[in-house]
Symmetry: C2
């Protein structure tokens, strides 16, 4: 893990050939310093990656015992389970969590990064927003060697560790299951394929079709934000198709449940006419009737492992060669896809 | 709103009749300062409420544009809705949220308070843990006049504003509704009555019984943590009673849904044998069959209003005389309590 020395006012003073006192006053926007000089100081400080609160670096505790968490949204059972797992491990090790939401926006993700940096977190646990193309905006942490662990929605980077399940295999298994139940025209409702979780499940879906001699048809792929409402809308579009699909694989349970409710309202029989499968094993999946076939996704364990990996990096400086940790997943077959007489 | 001057090393120096340089070194635990002097400095600094990161107070921006949020747990639809509302208002006003969980423990709540204080949040939005007896542990904020807004689980304090619904009235209405449906022996599943939300709903339940000439029976009150599992366990205990109740009012939907599932498994007909009502209007309430009667609780609006009230206090120093803001609630009658021929 590479580390960089923290930039001080002395470094800025040297770079600009000014006195440290001038730099100090300039950074405080003191009126005794000429306006153009203040601008030069600000620009140089920014260029060199100087952070104001580091000025008092002698006063900084070496550890804040705080871990920062950035998640897309706090609105799913899966994310609650992940965070409960993180809290458990963090508390036991004497760390406190502070959590922020990117609301699926890269711009907001960057604002969170800055806030958590200024809160002096010891490390970060991150699941990426839909629209983050890369992780350049994490440089503030990466350049200083502050540990960064990705979970669920990850990004491959030599300094970072990722905690995931095998989304490709899970997507392959769930699609193959629907095919074994007799479905041949399977719609897939998913989200931004900038994110590994959705891109990998889609690849799994395509390969399962191919391996069973079924042609891929892009008209059967529906992109949305996987909310309850988006699930209902996607299902409406499905219901308006000239030829109805005979199976639906939704990339989360919220959408799959919304899908079942909309299909039932339209008088469609599940699983007889359309088999339905979701993803996450949300408690909702056991409440909807028929009960939903889904992929069990170990959120609590993912959170525990993410926090434990980060704390191990902080405590021992070990584990820095860890690239990816893959957790087990398992298909849970329930009534929404189980046709009479078919193998699961 | 009372405010206190920030304590500096000069104040500590004066109080101990030592030089500021000695205080500064002492606080850094510098070996040139005698050990017993260091202890005196630490003790006095603590007594006076001195915070290390305030030493560099000239460097502090007057605003961090960060709002701290402390919630019991991030595991309910209600709390996600509250936080979505806060994010919306905070983002529009250029603030970032950082969120922490008390996991229903006062001790953890205090750790969060310290962490968020050290993160230099401009204000706090708080829903209290089950076991916080009072709010003395918020003194770090209160003594400095940093605004503190309570929502949902609140505490009456002259410096604070509370955002709530009328839980007494809501509890009264839901119980009266079950009575009008013919239920006379109504169990109530609830949580810690240290918290206003549960204490007030219980009072509403008792008064509704009394006003309909029904005797209160404490054997029908079940205390738990309102989780899915706790709901199933409470229902098992209800099923083992010599005389079954003919109505159940659960203080949240998670518990009510778990209750319906357990009753259905035991072959009980809902609403014919037992009417069931929940609280919160969680999406789950529309998925369970029969659909759940519940109290609509405006989480998103509560979050928006809490954030807006805090930001108004920060921006204008106005609204400091606001004590309590009460939002509307409304009963949603669905199949789980609607008996044929009865008025709702």
């Amino acid at each position: 893990m590479s580390t960089q020395k923290e930039i001080t006012i002395y470094d800025i003073a040297e770079a600009l050939d000014l006195s440290p006192a001038t730099i100090s006053r300039g950074l405080k926007d003191h009126p005794t310093i000429r306006k153009d000089t203040r601008k030069r100081i600000f620009d140089k400080a920014k260029e060199m990656g100087y952070q104001q609160n580091l000025f008092a670096s002698n006063l900084r505790r070496s550890r804040s015992n705080t871990i920062g968490v950035i998640v897309p949204r706090l609105n799913s059972y899966f994310m609650s389970a992940v965070i409960a797992g993180m809290e458990k491990v963090a508390n036991a090790a004497g760390y406190n969590l502070i959590i922020s939401q990117s609301t699926e926006s890269k711009e907001k993700e960057l604002a969170n990064i800055k806030t958590l940096y200024n809160s002096r977190v010891d490390g970060l646990l991150v699941s990426l927003a839909y629209d983050s193309e890369n992780i350049d905006h994490f440089d503030l942490f990466l350049n200083k060697g502050i540990p960064l662990i990705f979970f669920d929605r990850v990004f491959d980077h030599p300094q970072c560790t990722s905690i995931v399940i095998d989304n490709y295999k899970a997507g392959y298994e769930i699609t193959s299951h629907l095919i074994r139940q007799g479905s041949k025209r399977i719609a897939h409702i998913t989200a931004s394929i900038k994110r590994n979780v959705y891109a990998d499940r889609l690849r799994g879906y395509r390969d399962a079709l191919a391996d069973h001699g079924i042609l891929y048809d892009e008209k059967l792929i529906f992109f949305c934000n996987l909310s309850e409402q988006a699930g209902a809308e996607a299902t409406q579009r499905i219901l308006e198709m000239d030829e109805l699909p005979d199976g639906i694989f939704a990339a989360n349970d919220t959408t799959a449940v919304s899908c079942i409710r909309t299909l039932k309202q339209a008088g469609i029989k599940i699983p007889e006419q359309i088999t339905v499968a979701g993803f996450n094993n949300d408690p909702l999946s056991k409440v909807i009737e028929p009960n939903l076939t889904t992929m069990n996704y170990p959120g609590q364990e993912m959170g525990e492992l993410a926090a434990a990996t980060l704390i191990r990096k902080l405590d021992t400086k070990e584990g820095t060669s860890l690239n990816t940790i893959v957790l087990h997943h398992n298909l849970i077959v329930r009534e929404s896809s189980q046709r009479k007489g078919a193998d699961s």
